[in-house]
Symmetry: C2
DNA sequence: GAACTCAGTTAATAACCATTAACTTAGCAT
DNA sequence: ATGCTAAGTTAATGGTTATTAACTGAGTTC
């Protein structure tokens, strides 16, 4: 889209920005948005304090960039699963596999997203809501093709429930410091999601 | 246990205390522990500001009372389900039914418990952890009798996943202001939990 | 290489907020 | 009735913190 000057300074700036976002995700996941100071955010990224304002207009804007990014990634991944052109059952399995991978590989942002959503600015909250809704509707649509007898409200409730199921590992990790059996968790969560959605 | 003076003043104090706890649950659920001031907590209960210190030694202690209470209630309910003397399958259904009822009737405390756990004092955190672990072990034990081929780690992971599934409604409510079809959510969540745990 | 840009720094500034102090008053016991 | 207890009030107090100001210096451009 826009031209990249590709000079050393812009590179350094881009790097600093992603380091800021990554360390912010870890800090927010651990202590919550209001439990982290701008000083904390800066020093976790190797700079101190107000330097953060060179990259984001404020603390809330940093959270916004983080959560909008996550929501976009989730939606893009979900769309890719649908675009792969499988039959409906395989598409659902692809959605489940994608979401499980996402939750296991980025537990921090998962936790921040449903913990600090309310700390977003009005505008960021609106945008995240739109992206999240679109992601949910992907699931609702596939479920509707697979189970035409279920109403849209029920399918939406089920989609949320499956997200809760899959996103539970970040929570149990955060609560108990318990490492889930590394990769061992993946097949268990996938099977539980399929069976939970299949109905009796 | 201890004698109840039963005078008007102690009654009023007990009432004020429960009002404080209830409104604190609502406020914490909405804005998070660090997003609520002592002034907010007091005025939500009809008194203003430092009066809270007549009932709790501080903000953190109030959170502690709230979460220890929830954890005790959960454990008591789980023990009741086991003590009912059903066979293992019926006991599991009783556990699921109890947890679904709890999550649907007290979404606020559910949300606070897995959002603001880290804001507890060291001692309260220890106590809540012990109670939570005991509750999880009830599930792990029943699952072990029903599915002896599954290891304890897998059963624990599955218990946590089912909690995430059932606790998802507080989250979706908080995120979207979406009222789940009142009582309509209960059977759907119960069926998903059973099927998720049943394995293929 | 001279002018400029801009990411960084450290020092204000201004709220906000948990907790404590000092005081008031309604209820309880003798 | 009278003194005491304790729940409540409004004013400090002290610390934390988001944000802005003023300044510095390395990298970029011409």
């Amino acid at each position: 889209m826009s031209e990249s000057p590709a000079t050393a300074r812009t590179q350094a700036k881009a790097n600093r920005r992603t380091v800021l976002l990554d360390s912010a995700a870890a800090l927010f996941a651990q202590r919550g948005f209001n439990g982290v100071s701008i000083e904390d955010l800066g020093s976790a990224a190797g700079v101190s304090g107000p330097a953060v304002y060179r990259h984001f207009s404020g603390k809330q804007a940093l959270l916004g960039a983080l959560l909008v990014g996550v929501s976009e990634d989730l939606l893009a991944g979900g769309r890719a699963a649908l675009a792969a052109g499988h039959d409906d059952a395989a598409t659902l399995r692809a959605l489940v596999a994608f979401h499980v991978d996402f939750a296991l590989s980025k537990p921090d942002v998962i936790r921040v997203q449903d913990r600090d959503f309310d700390s977003l600015s009005t505008e960021d909250r609106r945008q995240v809501r739109i992206l999240q809704r679109a992601y949910v509707e992907l699931w609702v649509e596939v479920l509707g093709r697979l189970y035409p007898d279920r109403g849209a409200d029920m399918r939406r409730l089920q989609a949320h429930a499956v997200f809760g199921l899959i996103n539970s590992t970040p929570h149990s990790v955060a609560l108990h410091g318990r490492r889930p059996g590394a990769s061992g968790a993946r097949p268990v969560l996938e099977a539980m999601a399929w069976n939970g959605l299949a109905g009796s």
